[in-house]
Amino acid sequence: MKEETSNNSRRKFLKSVGITVGAAGVVSGFSLLGAAKAAAQEPGETVNLLTQDGQLVQVDKNQLRPTVTGPLTELQKRGREGIAGKSFVMVIDLSKCRNARKCMAACQNHHQLRPDQHHINVLQMQDAEHTAPYFMPKPCQHCDNPPCTKVCPVDATFKRQDGIVLIDNERCIGCRFCIAACPYSARIFQWTEPKDAEKYKNLTYNIEANVPQKKGTVSKCLFSADRLRENKLPSCVSSCPNGVYYFGDQNEDAVTNGTTHETVRFSQLIKENAGYTLMPELGTKPRVYYLPPKNRAFEFNGDLLNEENLH
């Protein structure tokens, strides 16, 4: 008899727990939907909400929308679509790079980055013990088969029709899967409050420039997508004093040098100079091409931060 009651109580307990958990799951699932529907039906009612900076505000219920299906701002919408009919490519001529670092400065200025944060970084390279060292600017490669967008759990990073890979910082949850997935280490994470956060706090978020930068989200090179909309070359390309960068539309088979503004055939430039891409064995199909550091315009003097180089 005693055994029976204990058995009974366990069963009852399990039963109740099972029902509660199951019901809670179903109810919470429907409650969001219900709340959204209810909000649409009852006009004029206000609710108290806590904002991000800890302030209590009263908002009309009709203003509330579920986060996932809510209307994106116009900027985000067109930023996701990209520029129709374009296919942007960059060519970096390593024989002309002397580590002037003007590209980095212009980029950090455009995207509101601190000096230690890089969307583009000039690296000192030496491929093997007896090979000649050289400088190599390394932006995001804007791959045609990007490993980073595959791993994003929230659709925050994506590829557009013009080939550019972007991040929506309003969506990014800061999981950093994409940083781990990128073989080129092109992405950075905003660990702290970004540069001039106070100054730019009222600025509308521009998905095509990643500004204002947001703490706890990922940021990376965007080929200055906001400038491309105005038919301007990316910041790094137009700020280079040594003619390192070419940028253009592959559909037109033409790239323009940012320093000399000379326009040349993309296919010819790559063919004549034996252009290559980084880590082709990974099958990422980068959109950034390199011309080998042959017949250099400057002697390599081996010091990344040499005063003499910095102009």
Partner: protein, 306 residues
């Protein structure tokens, strides 16, 4: 008083000394290299092609010759290559410096051909007021004309562009202008692609015949924006003709988002991934609900047994 003289004397010495140090750092070409002569004559063609090369390779730092609009670099700003102070050097000296480079100035030993370098020097020498080294040679003398017209005849079959440059003389005759360089360009997204080739000078009929590249893409219909102009505005002011021609290869831009791919966002995910994911979710939830259902059934089973 004696002290003051001493101080002044030492200051003077110091000044002389520093001046000599600064002088020693000045960029000097070796004596031998100074004697090198420019093998090319100062013809209008050479000057014009030198200007082109200058605009591409030198202008971004040195600015326009004689304009003094060079980049304000530190510690040494690039010199104005059209200034008389610069042109005091011999052709050989300039050639040496272009080849070797110094500080922020890159070496052009391998990036420019010898001919290109001499063309640039010919162009720069055209600003020399002393003209010791060479004189400008004009091969063709065109009459004074007004109402300069540039006509285009585009042959779609063999993709040739025929430009004709004419002007009206004082007598009222329309005559061909000879030996004038034309630039034929195709508009691209960030600039103009020059397709005029090496020898785009008008012949005795005032004509230039340019072959459009066989494989240059146009838009969907193959249209390209052509721009033909007289290269040097100094002759007749700005003479430009703008034309849309269907000379390019029709190109349909490929939208990478049209096909489903692994890298696509949710909307563009491959069908098999959507199916296997949704299937997996349904299976897992199904098992959970099955277990819950069985748990509910337990008391009933117990009662039936009793």
């Amino acid at each position: 008083m004696k002290n003051a003289i001493k101080i002044i004397a030492s200051l003077f010495l110091l000044f002389v000394f520093t001046a000599s140090v600064v002088n020693a750092q000045k960029w000097q070409a070796p004596v031998l290299s100074k004697k090198k002569q420019n093998p090319y004559e100062a013809s209008t063609r050479n000057i014009s092609s030198g200007k082109k090369i200058y605009n591409i390779n030198c202008k971004s730092c040195h600015g326009d010759a004689t304009m003094g609009n060079m980049l304000p670099l530190q510690p040494v700003a690039p010199s104005d290559l059209g200034s008389q102070a610069f042109l005091i050097q011999t052709d050989g000296e300039i050639y040496y410096k272009v080849n070797k480079g110094n500080g922020a100035m890159p070496t052009f030993e391998k990036t420019l051909s010898d001919e290109d370098k001499w063309m640039v020097i010919t162009y720069l020498r055209s600003f020399d007021q002393n003209k010791k080294e060479s004189k400008k040679i004009v091969e063709v003398k065109n009459p004074e004309v007004t109402d300069v017209k540039l006509l285009l005849d585009i042959n779609n079959e063999n993709k040739r562009i025929l430009a004709n440059l004419t002007g009206v003389t004082a007598k009222g005759d329309r005559v061909a202008l000879q030996g004038i360089e034309l630039s034929v360009k195709v508009k691209r997204n960030f600039g103009y692609l020059d397709i005029s080739g090496d020898d785009a000078y008008t012949n005795e009929k005032g004509e230039v015949n340019v072959q459009f590249p066989e494989d240059l893409p146009g838009d969907r219909e193959g249209h390209v924006n052509l721009l033909v102009k007289v290269t040097d505005d100094a002759y007749y002011g700005e003479v430009i003709v703008d034309r849309i021609a269907s000379l390019g290869i029709p190109t349909n831009p490929v939208n990478p988002l049209d096909e489903r791919a692994m890298w696509g966002t949710r909307a563009n995910a491959p069908i098999w991934i959507i199916f296997s994911y949704v299937g997996g979710v349904i299976c897992i939830w199904g098992v959970i609900f099955l277990v819950l259902f069985q748990l509910i059934q337990l008391p009933k089973l117990a009662k039936n047994k009793e």
